[in-house]
């Protein structure tokens, strides 16, 4: 009965490849997020969706494209992966913006 799940947990890939990370929440929340946590553990918001609509789009390269097929899912597709994309990516959800967020376990992406 995991609340927020992400797949895969680990992803190792070569530079230039395209990859996707999936996120699902079973909490009935309206809002979902993607965060990037760098090697110094700094957590930075990338995107936020509310009821499948994009509401936060921070300064992120356009190689990153989120997709929300329904409000329980928010996937992150990354094109032309670069070394600097290596990080842990966290998905989170909340009842609405400003409400407490529940985080997934993270996806550790390593670009070689």
């Amino acid at each position: 009965d995991t609340a927020v799940s992400q797949t895969p947990k680990y992803l190792v890939t070569q530079m230039g490849n395209d990859k996707s990370i999936k996120c699902e929440q079973n909490l009935g929340h309206d809002t979902m997020y993607w965060y990037k946590q760098d090697s110094k553990k700094f957590l930075k918001i990338m995107f936020s969706y509310n009821n499948k609509e994009l509401i936060i789009n921070e300064t992120v390269p356009n190689r990153f494209s989120p997709k929300s097929p329904d409000k329980a899912h928010l996937n992150l597709h990354i094109n032309s992966l670069e070394l600097g994309d290596s990080a842990v990516y966290f998905c989170a959800s909340s009842q609405a913006l400003g409400f407490e967020q529940f985080f997934g376990p993270g996806t550790r992406l390593t670009v070689l």
Binding site: V4, Y33, Y35, K40, K41, F42, L43, K44, I45, S48, I55, I56, F90, A92, L97, G98, E100, Q101, F102, F103, G104, P105, G106
Partner: protein
Amino acid sequence: TQLLEQSPQFLSIQEGENLTVYCNSSSVFSSLQWYRQEPGEGPVLLVTVVTGGEVKKLKRLTFQFGDARKDSSLHITAAQPGDTGLYLCAGELLNRDDKIIFGKGTRLHILP
């Protein structure tokens, strides 16, 4: 520009000691949250504070929101090794409900 400054960045103390970590900003927040993150896991919400001057207690943890809602502190009494982790504060900027800011975190290590 880092809007939420956390201090100290690292803290290593003996079991049984008391400690305080701080989250400061020049901006006003409509709410502020504290999270704890353990290695390999996503952040877990500890508390949300919304009213200036508000104090919330969670067992040995005491959270305070500044009167002006620009800062917050987390005080731990009689620290235990189980308190070890990364403590993150996150704030929702006043009148910008699409802007969620995370601090860089305080890495706490409690020595047995």
